[in-house]
Symmetry: C2
Subunit: 280 residues, 2 copies
């Protein structure tokens, strides 16, 4: 199976799983609102990282694997719904469609985000994985998504750590805001597949490298866009395009060399190239 076939088929499985998670939501209009941001497309990169890590460790893709992958997408989607709200980025559109607070209203967007976040944990308790594994997954997700991970990075992003003027501070910010959930996605895949400590440690390093490089690649792609707000600078603005490219390339090489230590990391390799090597 090519990477394209595998990712298309995996994406379809994750989407199908996400669709069923709010069947018991009420009132009906709220059910519709929870499903709306899950139906506006999206590349499902984070679930793919989970599933690729499982594949690398030889775990066949089961319904349980898909549930674990869906849980990281629920976290990612809730963060977009809250980020788009007027008090944050005030984005009227997401993926070419009205954002949740425009399609419904602000209170609905707030509650939809909260509901997706809560569901990310609930779905982890519905698998047939061992209780020990389920607890590890819940802890991993809470760490990656919470105040030591993604939310900490978002807090830095809204300026709660003061102005960002140094490359180390910018990397710490993105290591939280974007990197933490990518690293967690890879780690949750590894934990689900029963990784040894050594395997988990190598896959964590892969996730960390790609998680950091991800934002650099984004900033290179968007280098001609004016950020237009008073948030932190882009990598390109802070250290220049050439240095950003050099760092992204170095992180990608690091990740790819970790992949070489596994015999079947083909999808992790493709994902690394797909997410970082996007225009060079």
């Amino acid at each position: 199976m090519t990477f394209e076939e595998w990712s298309a088929s995996s994406r379809k499985s994750v989407d199908a799983r996400l669709q069923t998670r709010f069947d018991d939501a009420w009132p009906p209009q709220f059910r519709e609102a929870t499903l709306y941001p899950l139906q506006t497309g999206g590349k499902r990169i984070r679930p793919l990282f989970s599933l690729a890590a499982m594949d690398t460790l030889g775990r066949p893709q089961s319904a349980d694997c898909v549930s674990v992958a869906a849980s990281v997408e629920l976290i990612h989607t809730y963060s977009l719904v809250h980020d788009d709200m007027p008090c944050m980025d005030d984005d009227d559109e997401r993926r070419g469609k009205p954002s949740v607070h425009k399609r419904f209203d602000e209170p609905a967007a707030l509650l939809v985000g909260d509901a997706l976040l809560t569901e990310a944990f609930r779905i982890l308790t519905t698998t047939g994985l061992s209780p020990t594994t389920q607890v590890r997954l819940v802890a991993e997700l809470a760490n990656g998504a919470g105040h030591v991970g993604m939310i900490g990075g978002q807090a830095a992003d809204i300026g709660m750590g003061g102005p960002v003027t140094e490359i180390d501070a910018l990397m710490q910010l993105h290591n939280g805001k974007t990197g933490a959930l990518i690293r967690t996605s890879v780690r949750m895949g590894a934990i689900t597949a029963g990784a040894t400590d050594a395997e988990l440690s190598r896959l964590t390093a892969y996730g960390e490298a790609i998680g950091l490089a991800f934002q650099m690649a984004d900033d290179i792609l968007d280098k001609d866009e004016d950020a237009g707000d008073d948030g932190p600078p882009s990598y390109v603005k802070l250290i220049g395009e050439e240095e950003t490219r050099r760092r992204a390339r170095q992180l990608l090489d690091e990740a790819l060399s970790i992949c070489d230590t596994f015999s079947g990391a083909r999808h992790l390799i493709s994902l690394a190239r797909f997410t970082v090597d996007r225009d060079y």
Copy 2:
């Protein structure tokens, strides 16, 4: 130990536990913001329901018990932080102090709420309880706090189920908005204490009765206040004060008769009276 001594001591233990849960938050100003809504007082009713259920089943109050109790308070507090935001109730004060979005700002309040919600699940994975028990607690909390429970009720409260004109619809709303987390608090205590299915089922019925009666008692206390918004009516407005009192009394009696089936439900009895029997 009297109920007053027990509740004061339990409250102190829960507060101490909550204080330590954001030691690893960053940036420092965000750590301060996460702690702020946890330091503004509050009766800690929901943790007390958890601890009283454990006490009823003979479980001595350990550090693990306190962590479970703290997790329900994290959910309750996050819901208050988000509820106070301008797009929801737009409350500038909470317990006589500026609400989080006034003391910090709106983006901070949004992220603080998200962080408390996420931490509620993380803390459950830090106990020495068996993995099976931990998974049951995570599932229980996600159900009580999520779209089938509290958030569903909040969605009805903001009008996503249409205008509330019937008593059954109002009870369904409050059964979610307020009742679900109280029922879940009792159930999490029971699960932590290793309740049998029969004990869990009786304690669930207790939690459901008190969860519903709680809002009725609130509405009786606030009967002279003008709701002043276009939300759902109070019980008193919809069915009158006398009928509200009759229903609250009936639910309280139901809960107390369940307590009689246990030999040591003293704190559950006191809590039922404390939360429902407030002015009559």
